[in-house]
Assembly symmetry: C2
């Protein structure tokens, strides 16, 4: 049942506000590390560390060209997470509905 564990890293990664900022930046298009760090109130190495976490969570990917590292959204990883969440929402709301109907029946008895 519980398949959350496979996406645990993703949830954990998005749990940090700085990482969410980075993730949102990348949602607008690929960026190099310096451009990601630009505007953020932390040092560049700190950004690198966050990028590592996001990458291990399969939320972003990295591609090297020369000394530059381009980061971008991981299309597949994001889609996988989205699918999981959709199923989870649906299931939860379905159970919710069933319980409501059950309570209704109980009332009429």
């Amino acid at each position: 049942m519980s398949k959350t564990s496979s996406h645990a890293a993703a949830f954990n990664a998005l749990g940090d506000p700085t990482r969410r900022s980075i993730f949102e930046k990348l949602a607008n298009g690929p960026l190099s590390v310096v451009h990601i760090a630009d505007g953020l109130p932390i040092s560049r190495p700190a950004v690198s560390q966050h990028l590592k976490v996001l990458r291990e969570a399969k939320l972003i990917t990295m591609e090297q060209s020369g000394t530059r590292s381009m980061y971008r959204i991981d299309r597949d990883g994001v889609r996988s997470l989205r699918d999981y969440l959709d199923k989870f929402w649906d299931q939860a709301l379905l159970n919710f509905k069933e319980l409501a109907e059950q309570a209704e029946k109980q009332k009429k008895k």
Copy 2:
């Protein structure tokens, strides 16, 4: 644009594995605190603390009847989060597509 901040608490809440377990349990139906704590490898007060975090993140709700506290999924809160994520995914994937097309054009030039 960035409306993540309003859902920051939710992401943060789901970032903890124990809280995800609790959240998943409640997805199957409402439970009291002892029933939630049952099976979890932590003390009951710890569970109470997690429940507080989840409640403040608008992921679950609480209803008291006597000395019992029944917890359940927050339908509205979950839906709100889902809507935000859907928009975010769509936007990210759209940008992704646009960039791909742009790269394609660049190639043909």
